[in-house]
Symmetry: C2
Subunit: 410 residues, 2 copies
């Protein structure tokens, strides 16, 4: 049994999560796009609470908050993110940040322990301006040119402007210090229903899927919707619809049981009711933790595009715009989470891959990393109805704090 | 043979069209959205030229220009529009306005004739804020509430604001005076390739198709694109794509050879690459000049929606948002255009329906109306490459002016 004095304070964790939910509330969720006023207020809220955990921190030049400890001994980095998808849930991000804050509060002041938990809120995990800009900046993968080019995907606002408006333009970006941390631990809601369906309390993440993303463009002929005979048309929108249906028919044969694929956005150009679309574009995404499966599906996608081009009447081009290598979670971190689950969750844990991307996959490129999941009610994610029961939230915090103390005590 | 002194001045017509093309130029076409600076400058250009044609006029409170004559005798109304679709052609609209202006210049000062041609430029024929707002205002079909509700379909700007920005907010709207006109004549580019394909110079319009427009909404379940298994998804975007493909397969059987249908806009909600669309919407349009065909296709559309609902997993609703009764062109107007084509175009004319909507269909609700078409190169329409040969433009002007004088002389 662990030292029972080193235990998360469940009421404090719930109070903190509700305080963050009260900033940028949307129905029962929140609306906190990156660099929005409620996002910046959430970062300020966190920064003000860091001293309670023996940490000093501020908001850096890309919108990360990183609280550091001057305590001697090993340091474990822990955190998640505070911005949300548009009109989305209250726990996606804040849960991991508050667990990290709670672990720091409990552990960093305990005289029986050495070392400290350091807390991070990574900016823009939700990809309003890019993907994982905050954590990628921290590990040294974001250039000034990347920031110059980045725009808000909802309204097209340049990131430089957004940084100015948020008061971050003049600030330095904080970079990782080599060997400072023994690793990175992140908690998150599952965003699926495997835990709930199996009456489990904790998911011990084994790997994070790779995400491959494609821009698929159909080129037809823009023309008048009243005077162009059906037989004379080159309708790029119809070509796109046929392609979506073909993917639905042919991908299941080539995929693995865990593969998922999604067309998240479709744009017809010019998009007017009385004009035949001359150009149509879709954003298409494939996720799997096996690179061989992804390679097979990408080959199928290119074959299908070639077939569509040959069949006509529209041109088709496929451009890969994001390549995500799957990330493996450290086995010692998995063991620590599992041991903590035995201590605080009756062993109701399962090892599972993550189908969603997380900052942990970025941190995993420079240090050992681990993740734990708590259940999501109905598996709902990226929607304001997203939720987790209070019991599961508190149990997850206890497992998280215990796992941190085990990792620091190794 | 007509009096050969009453002939359009081809060079003057071409010069006027090029003057309008120089306002808001985009590549070889123009970009003049309704109430934009180049649109307002085009209206001012026309207003300044009205006195040359013996007309007095100004820009009214909805952006119409209507030039009136104090000459005794019958009055024929003629015109078209001066705004364009976004990044579109130089003749769609201006051709008909300049022909009307030329007819007024030639006829209104001729001592051998009585009566006059009056010139109109109807606002927003291209439907940036509604449909046929200018001509519908003139015939009394637009309410203050319609204007309160109207917004720019490209950027969402309220029409009231656009009217204020264009300096039109305080002005009165000009309404039709009962029995003032013997009818309305409009010229337009064909926006199709029937004339060009048959080496014909003039299309004598017999009817203008009705346009029925629908908002079709698919309701699924918004969820995370990484953590939601394929079998558990309710993807509204995929449901929409399947519906588009089904329309493509089933509409040909129930339609007439002239029917056309178009999906001009698709919106996935929320439209993010990592979120399964919970809602998807398409704007769908059917055009035919036979109401029985439209009724049959609407019934098919509703049946298909019911089948899609039953098959699941997404809900489907079909809402008709525009109902356009086909408009018949006056037979005396058709005869006058045909006689003018014999005099000025070697009889190379054909009677044909219009697949596009035009202000003439609105004017036809209160007076006899007619339309003539000139050829479009390659049938291109609503695109900046739209064009017509100079010879066809001049020949069309001569036929138009002659048809006007025949109608006034009846």
């Amino acid at each position: 049994m662990p030292d029972m004095s080193i235990v998360a304070n469940g009421e404090r964790v719930l109070a903190d999560l509700h305080a963050l939910r009260a900033i940028g509330t949307y129905k029962t969720g929140v609306h906190k796009p990156t660099f929005s006023e409620p996002h910046m207020r959430s970062l300020a809220w966190l920064t003000e609470r860091l001293p309670d955990a023996g940490l000093a921190g501020t908001i850096d030049g890309i919108g990360n908050v990183i609280g550091t400890s001057s305590r001697p001994g090993p340091k474990l980095l822990a955190g998640s993110h505070l911005e949300s998808q548009n009109h989305a849930g209250w726990l996606d991000g804040p849960l991991g940040v508050v667990y990290a804050l709670e672990a720091a509060r409990v552990i960093n002041s305990d005289p029986s322990l050495t070392g400290a938990v350091e807390v991070a809120a990574w900016c823009d995990e939700e990809g309003h301006f890019g993907h994982f800009l905050g954590s990628r900046s921290y590990v040294g993968l974001v250039t000034e040119a990347d920031i110059d080019a980045a725009r808000d995907r909802t309204n097209g606002k340049p990131m430089r402007q957004a940084l100015r408006d948020a008061g971050l333009a003049g600030r330095a970006r904080v970079a990782a210090q080599p060997s400072r941390h023994i690793g990175y631990l992140e908690a998150h809601i599952e965003q699926g229903s495997l835990l709930e369906g199996g009456n489990l309390a904790i998911g011990v993440v084994t790997s994070i899927v790779g995400i491959w993303q494609y821009r698929i463009v159909f080129e037809g002929e823009q023309n008048h919707a009243g005077t162009t005979r059906m037989s004379a048309r080159k309708d790029a929108g119809l070509a796109l619809a046929k392609f979506c249906v073909a993917i639905d028919q042919r991908f299941p044969v080539a995929s693995s049981p865990r593969t998922v694929w999604t067309t998240g956005r479709i744009t017809l150009d010019p998009g007017a009711p009385s004009i035949i679309p001359g150009r149509a574009e879709m954003l298409f995404q494939i996720r799997d933790d096996d690179p061989a499966v992804i390679a097979r599906l990408e080959a199928l996608l290119l074959t299908m595009a070639e077939e569509a081009r040959t069949a006509g009447p529209c041109g088709v081009t496929v451009e890969r715009i994001r390549t995500g290598t799957p990330a493996m979670m450290d086995s010692a971190f998995q063991d620590a989470i599992e041991a903590a689950s035995i201590a605080f969750a009756d062993g109701r844990s399962v090892r599972m891959p993550s189908g969603a991307g997380h900052d942990a996959q970025v941190l995993a490129t420079i240090m050992p990393a681990g993740m734990l999941f708590v259940p999501s009610i109905g598996g709902v994610s990226h929607h304001w109805t997203e939720n987790t029961g209070d019991g599961d939230i508190v149990r997850g915090a206890q497992v998280f704090v215990d796992a941190c103390s085990r990792l620091l005590a190794r």
